[in-house]
Every structure is written in C-alpha cells, then in structure tokens.
Subunit: 149 residues, 2 copies
DNA sequence: GTGTTATAGTTACATATGAAACCATTTGCA
DNA sequence: TGCAAATGGTTTCATATGTAACTATAACAC
C-alpha cells in the first residue's frame, strides 16, 4: 500500500503510456503464440519467422530474409544455422555469386510450416475476436499509418 | 528476386500478421525513446520503467514494482541493484517485515526523472501525431479491450 | 589486369535475459 | 511453541542478443 505522490514532478503514468502498452500487448501476444510451438517443435520466434518468409518466397538469400523479417543479419545467420542443422531449410549457393546463399524449406520444413501456420493464425483470430468488426478495421488502418515510422 | 510460391501450403503473410506487426511497431517506438536517454543517462528501458513507477508510487517494495511494470522479479532486482548503485534510488527495509525493501527515488533520481519524462512524452506525441483524433480515440479503445489478454 | 571499395555471411565478445536454485524471514497451524 | 509452507529478494547458470571485427567474394575505377 503506498500513496500516489509528488504530482509536482509530473510522473509518467505507465499504464496510459502508448509505448509501454504496445510493449506489453506485443509481448503477451507473441508469447502466447510461441508457447504453442516453442517446445513442441524446438523452434524460436526468429526461426519461425524465417521459415514463414521462406514459405512465401522460395530461394531468398539470407540478406533478403533479413529484410523481409525486419531482423538483423546476425540473427538471421544464427536462425539459419539451426534450421539447416535441424534439416528444415536447405541452403545452396547462388550460381553467379558465391557469396549469396539460396534458401528454401526442405520437405521437413514444409511439414513443420504446415502445422505451425494454422496454429499461429488461430491465435491471431483469438486475439482479434476480442474486437468487433469496426474495431478490427480501425486497428488495421491505424497500424498501416504507424507502420512506416 | 524470387517468385511467390506454393499457394497450396497457405503460407503466413508476415506483413499482415497482427502479432508480427505489433512486435515491429512496439520495438520501433520503444527503441526511438530509449535512444533518447539510453546513452545520455546510462539507463536501460527496464531501469527507466522502475524509476517511472517509483516516481508515482513512493515506498513500493520490489515485488510491487514488478507488478506495476509487468516485469519479472529478477529483472526488477537487477535494475534496482544498478539504480541503487548509481544513487538514483534509495532502498530501505520495511519496518514490520525485514524481507521487504522500501524503495524511493533519491534527489538525483528525481532529477533524472524530471529530464527523461518530458522526452518520453514528447516521443509519444510524435507517434500519435501520425493519427488524427478519431484514430487516436479508437486506438485507446482497442488497447483497452485487448489489454486484459 | 590490379588495387580499392562494397557486399554476403559468420564469428567473437560483451551484455541481457529467464528459469531455477537459493537464503532469509514470515506466516499458518498443529 | 515449533515446524512446514509461503514470500521477498538475490544469485547462478544457461541461452539470447547486438555490435564490431573478420573472411570470402564481387563490383568498380583506372
């Protein structure tokens, strides 16, 4: 029990502070999804994001994966090391440029993808179910406007 | 350059996936603010959050700080160790319970708070400036509904 | 062609973080 | 009382993450 104090210092009200609220919400949502596959597939969030991108865009290089996931190249490099090791991603070398890798999901990678993707979508639906249609539409619009921050 | 592929596998479109978008937005916003004070005051985000809570609620225990910041007790313990060491927070012992600490901002802590808080608020305003009044109202409403997830 | 600069990706190091074990104190209850 | 269980807080250990340095290859200038 402690009294609220020092209004003269104009303290920040964390629970109304947008960055703080976003952070809590984002972590809660991401964690809920991660809990679904993390242990079951021994897959981190970053690894899953790499897989999701490769599922849509076959043959990307590591740098392109980094761009599309908004992760830095070191994180991508490490995620790929594990994914290749685990036999979920195949890594070849670009024909005309030996520096670049050519990445794609393996048979196994596709299997994992096809199990995890529906789980992720289901969780997203659960979250969105708390909002009515109008609110969902505004949320999309708001995220679009804030996105290229 | 790679073609979009395998529609039969229904791959996840990351850039339209709510959890992903929230994560990007949250990190971008938090990082922008942290950049303002991180180096200048040698203050991490978690440390700043602890200070913000103590600015509003004087005399909290570490556990209470953890509750109010949605951080786990280990993170709070570490943040407090640094803050006390740096002379920004005073740590006493609870009268009736020697386990509990009694925390408050020091003179120095208040100074830092009074410089950082306006910067944080200014950044928040910058972000919100991208939205019109109606959108801002919806955002608040949406966050309220999603909050107790 | 040769030297410089840029790019793809990995490695090394230092720091951050989370889970579980741990210590001290307090509470509940026989 | 006195002892088991709960609580506040710290420490330990294992893992994650970011920055900078590094290797290899390619592009560019001349």
């Amino acid at each position: 029990m402690s009294a609220e104090s020092k209004p003269d210092h104009a303290p920040l009200e964390l629970e109304r502070f947008l960055p703080y609220r976003l952070s809590i919400l984002s972590n809660t949502v991401s964690q809920a999804i991660a809990d679904d596959y993390q242990q079951r597939y021994d897959l981190t969030v970053t690894e899953w994001r790499v897989m999701a991108v490769l599922a849509r865009f076959d043959g990307l290089s590591a740098r392109e994966v980094a761009e599309r996931t908004a992760m830095d190249k070191v994180a991508v490099s490490r995620a790929l090391a594990r994914l290749v090791e685990a036999g979920r991603v195949h890594r070849g070398t670009h024909d005309g440029d030996k520096r670049r890798s050519v990445l794609s999901l393996s048979e196994n990678g596709w299997q994992v993808h096809d199990e995890v993707a529906p789980m992720a979508r289901a969780r997203e639906r659960e979250v969105l179910a708390k909002l009515d249609d109008e609110e969902q539409a505004w949320l999309t619009r708001i995220l679009d406007k804030l996105q290229p921050l």
